[in-house]
């Protein structure tokens, strides 16, 4: 299952783009700054590559991420991933605090979790809405560390299975804050997703 046709990729990119666009709108409202979004990159990769240090999907040693698992006619994980400096800078921006070397203490982590929750809910709400699909979700989780140790990814025993990874980088240019919105879709549900997309577009 290593091939996926261009039309399907385009359809998935479009649906992800709608969700991410909604999330960017929320982020724009919160920060009052322009958010620059990259076009989502869609890749089919073995699951193990996401956490593999050799592949360097996230070369930074440590990242700050808010993650949400979902299940339904298609299943997977959505995450907002920040380099820790960007995460701290974003929270400082939103709380209006001023500190030279801010770190992510428990209160700021809670604030970051809320920001991640708003972004992820905008993405997933929008996708589920467009596709008229009902999904069930896990409780949002915050993680800080190397990507290889993310519990939601580390504990999956499907390292060789292929997954679809949609990754959209966003940048708050004026403040040099960046991050990724990541959507990892289990491959077994890809067909269902494509069918949902087709149904949505035929309506």
């Amino acid at each position: 299952m290593k091939d996926i046709d261009a039309a399907t990729i385009d359809a998935i990119a479009e649906i992800v783009n709608i969700g991410v666009g909604k999330a960017a709108g929320q982020l724009n409202q919160m920060t009052g700054s322009h958010i620059r979004l990259q076009i989502p990159s869609i890749n089919l990769i073995p699951f193990g590559e996401i956490t593999s240090s050799e592949k360097n999907i996230y070369p930074e040693n440590v990242l700050s991420a808010v993650l949400l698992g979902f299940k339904g006619s298609f299943s997977g994980i959505t995450a907002v991933v920040f380099p820790p400096e960007s995460a701290a800078a974003l929270v400082m921006l939103l709380t209006g605090e001023k500190e030279e070397n801010p770190d992510l203490d428990p209160m700021r982590i809670e604030a970051l979790k809320e920001v991640g929750n708003i972004i992820i809910n905008a993405v997933m709400g929008s996708i589920a809405n467009v596709l008229s699909e009902h999904l069930t979700y896990s409780i949002p989780n915050y993680y800080e560390g190397p990507i290889s140790e993310v519990p939601e990814l580390r504990d999956k025993h499907v390292k060789d299975e292929w997954v679809l990874m949609a990754r959209t980088n966003f940048l708050i240019e004026s403040l040099n804050i960046e991050g990724d919105i990541l959507l990892i879709l289990e491959i077994g549900s890809l067909e269902n997703l494509v069918m949902s997309i087709q149904r949505a577009y035929s309506r």
Partner: protein
């Protein structure tokens, strides 16, 4: 008789937990209000259950809050309100009358074919206090660190200036001393008649030479500790140190593991001095050996030769300042260099059988190379 609300009955179990729990129906009606919420707000369940929560707490109608809760009832994921952005969304008081800082999570729950919201209200007032204390401490620590850095920089600059002054002064004194000794020696050569004057001149030359030794000593000593200690490869350091020495007729064995020592950059001088001393004073020397042993408290670097050794009565004295000779880098300085990173040196040889110096490297000051 009025039947109890089945939703309410189902959730009574949440009365047992020490956090606030509310159950909301899709039209925002309070279906359940647990005892913690009653205690924190002073509102009893019967006073609020059946009421619209938005009417009870109008701040919840703020679009930035309400649109997110609405998403949940539309089938969206859980919604989190953090204590930094929403510290008192549903105001609850502490016994002292101040407001509890709260963290609220709304979790969707399918019940009887509808989506309900399970609202968890956590009191994080203690955490807020701890974080504030931590931030205050961090600020103090950062300020102190900044002051230490400034002081270190001032010391560095002052030390650099002092060293420069030392160097210039020493150079000038040495020049004048050379001239003085030269003239004294010329005077001594010409003084043939009066033995008393000749003796005086000899004493003056000796005193001038001693002054020269003292000045020479300051030149070596001022370099110690100027540069930061670094990790140094032990076998490489020894090889480099003795490269310039003439070891003709001496078998040298460096029997060391791949190990690094944390020491002043002048560590090379330590080994140079040991070997140079062996060559200079060993007399019958044909063998020099470096080895190590590891014990519970650290590592011992052993330096041995098979020369005449060190007499018992001077085993400690050789490390004294008075033993410094202008011809080399004395054992006093050797000990000083090692002491910078808490390394120590002792002479443990048997007189007549050879010298044996043991350098004790405490745990943490050595590491094996990977």
């Amino acid at each position: 008789m009025e039947q109890p609300d089945p939703v309410n009955v189902t959730f009574r179990i949440f009365d047992l937990i020490p956090n606030g729990v509310i159950v909301l129906s899709p039209d925002y009606t309070v279906c359940f209000w647990n005892t913690s919420m009653a205690e924190w707000t002073g509102i009893k369940p019967e006073q609020v259950e059946g009421m619209n929560l938005l009417e009870k707490y109008p701040t919840l109608k703020d679009p930035s809050v309400l649109t997110r809760i609405t998403q949940l009832f539309d089938g969206g994921p859980a919604v989190l309100f953090s204590p930094l952005f929403h510290p008192h969304l549903i105001p609850c008081t502490l016994p002292n009358g101040s407001l509890r800082t709260q963290k609220i999570s709304l979790i969707p729950m399918n019940y009887a074919g509808e989506i309900y919201a399970l609202v968890f209200v956590e009191d994080v007032s203690d955490l807020t206090g701890q974080v504030k204390a931590y931030r205050d401490m961090k600020k103090i620590a950062e300020k102190q660190l900044e002051e230490i850095k400034k002081a270190q920089n001032s010391i560095y600059v002052a030390n650099k200036k002092l060293n420069l002054l030392n160097s210039i002064t020493r150079h000038d004194i040495m020049n004048k001393l050379t001239v003085l000794i030269g003239y004294l020696e010329l005077s001594r050569e010409r003084e043939q008649k009066d033995p008393v004057v000749a003796q005086y001149l000899d004493n003056e030359i000796d005193a001038a030479e001693a002054i020269k030794d003292h000045i020479q000593f300051t030149r070596f000593y001022q370099d110690i500790g100027v540069k930061s200690a670094i990790w140094q490869d032990l076998p490489d350091t020894i090889r480099t140190a003795i490269m310039s020495l003439d070891l003709n007729g001496i078998i040298l064995t460096i029997d060391l593991p791949d190990i690094e020592i944390f020491a002043d950059p002048l560590l090379q001088k330590v080994f140079y001095n040991l070997v140079e001393n062996s060559i200079r004073h060993g007399e019958t020397i044909t063998m020099i050996r470096f080895s190590t042993t590891e014990g519970e408290t650290g590592l011992t670097i052993i330096y041995e030769d098979n020369g005449v050794g060190v007499p018992f009565e001077v085993k400690e004295k050789i490390f004294k300042r008075e033993f410094f000779k202008h011809t080399g880098f004395g054992l006093f300085l050797t000990r000083e260099i090692l002491a910078i990173t808490h390394l120590s040196i002792y002479e443990k040889g048997v007189p007549g059988q050879g010298a044996r110096f043991e350098i004790i490297v405490p745990t943490g000051m050595f590491r094996f190379k990977e």
